[in-house]
């Protein structure tokens, strides 16, 4: 009996050594990918931020399905890495994607936070990525060669939003943010762009139920417009509580609010709200709209689906061109210049897409309606 502990320990050790031996032999042949090449989705599919990731994956799926239909003998697979948008879970998933030699490119990471946590890994591994949604301006300042953004960053969106607000003739704009990396970043840019027309109204806690303190401050300041930097759930609550409190200021917000969830949360209070996004309206490309609807039981493409479609099609173009290694694909992307469904796809050194613009949207009759480009 006594010895059984020893025996267990010894057998564990032997097994591990076997592992080392096997592992060694595995490593030498790890470069080659057996089976189909893969394009990976990286972002949240479940958890609280799941909705956004599902939109993106649908765009990716559509692009790959079209490719596979057109090229029966060069099938591509989609691999999904569900990080739940959590920077703590992301590294292990990123390493997994890197270790899978079949993964040739990443559509994602979807959020700025997880991007900051894992992009350095992709850079080191030379695994090219195109994010359809992470808009934090700082991401492109790290000198990552693999990094590409399929839409403009918040540093473009902020001034765009500000010029729309000014064009609407607003003189006193309350700027509120949700104190998140994205929300505060965007709100700060908008505030700077607005100059002395802006009134800083501090942050709110998006998780809290009651925003009355910040609304009281907005009321007190007598603003004629409010810009909110943050996500749709909080934006909906804010718009509704403002309306209930009798604040009539025009509501503005950014791409984080561009979701039907905003309309659901705010109800009638959402009417007339103006939102900005560097993403293109769903009807900017009728062909894509129709293909997407056909593939998704008539459902309209939601935010970032078109960008994800574009990102995927760049990878697919590279593969169609006969590029198989990650390095070749990266080179291909860096010199890519062609029209996508949302914009001209061509990247500068930092990975920012050159042909980009800021679009305005309005909530009208309970739906999101594109207003076109902001000049």
């Amino acid at each position: 009996m006594k010895k059984s502990v020893l025996r267990v320990g010894a057998s564990m050790l032997v097994l591990s050594l076997v592992g080392v031996a096997c592992g060694g032999s595995d490593d030498s042949s790890a470069d080659a990918c057996e089976g189909n090449s893969k394009i990976a989705f990286f972002g949240a599919l479940t958890g609280e931020a799941g909705n956004l990731g599902i939109n993106i994956k649908k765009g990716l799926d559509l692009a790959v399905a079209q490719h596979n239909e057109a090229n029966p003998d060069a099938q591509i697979d989609v691999e999904a890495y569900d990080s739940q948008g959590d920077p703590d879970q992301a590294p292990a998933l990123a390493d997994k994607a890197i270790a899978d030699a079949c993964v040739k490119g990443i559509v994602g990471p979807a959020f700025s936070g997880e991007s900051a946590a894992v992009n350095a890994k992709f850079e080191e591994a030379g695994l090219p990525l195109i994010t359809p949604s992470a808009t934090n301006p700082a991401l492109s300042t790290n000198g990552w060669d693999v990094f590409h953004r399929a839409l403009a960053g918040d540093d473009k969106q902020g001034p765009g939003a500000a010029s729309r607000i000014v064009a609407d003739g607003k003189m006193k704009v309350g700027v509120i943010d949700d104190n998140s990396e994205y929300g505060k970043g965007l709100a700060d840019i908008v505030q700077t762009s607005l100059g002395d027309k802006a009134v800083e109204l501090n942050s709110l806690d998006p998780e809290a139920a009651d925003y009355s303190a910040v609304i009281t401050a907005a009321k007190d300041a007598g603003v004629d417009a409010v810009f909110f930097g943050g996500y749709y759930a909080a934006a909906g609550k804010l718009a509704k509580q403002m309306a209930d409190a009798g604040v009539t200021a025009q509501f503005y917000s950014g791409d984080g609010t561009l979701d039907v969830g905003f309309i659901e949360a705010a109800g009638p209070a959402a009417e007339g709200a103006i939102l900005t996004c560097t993403c293109a309206p769903k009807d900017s490309n009728p062909e894509f709209l129709k293909a997407f609807q056909d593939a998704n039981k008539g459902e309209d493409p939601a935010t970032y689906a078109a960008e994800a479609y574009d990102a995927a099609s760049v990878f697919l173009a590279a593969m169609k061109d006969g590029k198989t290694s990650r390095g070749d694909i990266l080179k291909f992307i860096n010199s890519y210049d062609a029209a996508g469904v949302t914009k001209q796809l061509n990247w500068d050194e930092a990975g920012e897409v050159t042909g980009s613009a800021v679009y305005a949207y309005e909530i009208k009759d309970g739906a999101i309606k594109g207003l076109g480009l902001i000049k």
Partner: protein, 374 residues
């Protein structure tokens, strides 16, 4: 007089702060009652509140078929009709939360007291098989069928285990509470494809100004929340002080062993305690949806932490303390936000708690259901 924001908007902040504080206070009562009787932080109480908000949602949208979006007309809901609607929805919310709290007690706490019964055994057996079946297949319907089939034999085994009457240490209760809290909110979250969405609750009334006080408009929903909370709290105090079961609750809180010797059915009293806390949380949930028109699977977490803070601030185990703590916390948060900005709100709340506990280590009004003569 200096022209600070806090001074200009003092009364407005007071009204909104009191409304939120009333909800904190009602939820805090649940923490306080359970703590008073079992010396247990019922961490899952926040989810009982959440269940209540969904009860209110069901009652208004399904049972009463009130449409979600209204264009500002509330024709059939004035006067008496409105009151009946409100009371009905509140009763349903209370029912949801009350039942939720009692089930929670019997499944997650009673077995730990060495007192598990068949009900707990069956639910736990169902959950066990459900989890195990997930390893093999992940399709809700099939999982449930497997779980139902295997429940009987396993609950029999669990009953045999319960017969040993093993009592768990205090920390185990807290972890069980944390587990139950996670499980309840996640169960709602994975319930359907849209489980994690933010749900809107129908608007029951037009949020117009009821009266003006100190130059501040007091909205009708805020007034209902504050008055409703005070009424519920009065009813609870009367129940605890004037009824036989209420006396039982106080007796068990002060000395459980002697209470048993005198013939108090302690298990029943514990159920009553959880039910009372649940009913208060249900009322709070309905009032919450009245003002904020929305709920979500994780709405309880932050509110629960705040309410627990309120309970401790006033003196946990003390009913009046819960009221005082709740209102105070609501006000402090609002004033603090106005002075320092909303991003510092929680910091201010916790600093106030800390300062109070430094000078009064058992909260503002001291501990215990009985000692301070609720």
């Amino acid at each position: 007089m200096p022209d600070w924001l806090i001074i200009r908007t003092f009364w407005e902040l007071t009204v909104t702060g009191l409304a939120l504080g009333s909800i904190y206070a009602l939820v805090a009562l649940g923490y306080t009652l359970v703590y008073g009787v079992l010396r247990l932080i019922n961490f899952a109480h926040s989810e009982i509140f959440m269940v209540g908000t969904f009860g209110a949602l069901l009652a208004s949208s399904q049972f009463l078929s009130i449409p979600l979006l209204e264009d500002g007309n509330y024709p059939y809901r004035t006067g008496m009709t409105l009151i009946i609607f409100l009371v009905f929805i509140m009763l349903i919310a209370m029912l949801f939360s009350g039942i939720g709290a009692v089930v929670l007690e019997r499944v997650a706490y009673r077995p730990l007291r060495g007192n598990g019964d068949a009900f707990g055994a069956i639910v736990l057996a169902f959950l066990t098989t459900f989890i195990v079946s997930l390893v093999f297949v992940d399709q809700a319907k099939i999982n449930v069928i497997i779980a139902l089939l295997a429940t009987a034999p396993i609950s029999y085994a669990y009953m045999r285990f319960f017969k040993q009457g093993r009592k768990a240490p205090r920390l185990a209760f807290l972890i069980s509470a944390i587990g139950a809290s996670t499980a309840i909110s996640e169960a709602v979250g994975v319930w359907s494809k849209h489980g994690r969405d933010q749900y809107q609750t129908p608007r029951l009334l037009e949020k117009k100004t009821l009266f003006t006080m100190f130059g501040t408009d007091v909205r009708i929903d805020y007034a209902i929340v504050i008055v409703g909370a005070l009424l519920m709290m009065t009813a609870l105090t009367l129940f605890v002080n004037k009824t036989r079961l209420g006396r039982g609750v106080r007796a068990v809180a002060q000395d459980a062993e002697t209470s048993r010797i005198l013939g108090v059915n302690v298990d029943l009293i514990i159920i009553v305690t959880f039910a009372l806390g649940g009913v208060m949380a249900g009322g709070a949930a309905m009032l919450f949806t009245l003002v904020y028109d929305q709920t979500r699977f994780n709405i309880g977490f932050i509110l629960g932490v705040k309410s627990f803070t309120a309970a401790v601030l006033g003196g946990i185990g003390n009913l009046k303390g819960a009221l005082l703590g709740g209102l105070l916390l609501g006000l402090v948060e609002n004033y603090g936000s106005a002075i320092f900005g909303g991003q510092w709100k929680d910091v201010i709340a916790f600093v106030v708690l800390l300062v109070v506990l430094m000078f009064r280590p058992t909260g503002l009004l001291g501990e215990s259901l009985g000692k301070a003569r609720v």
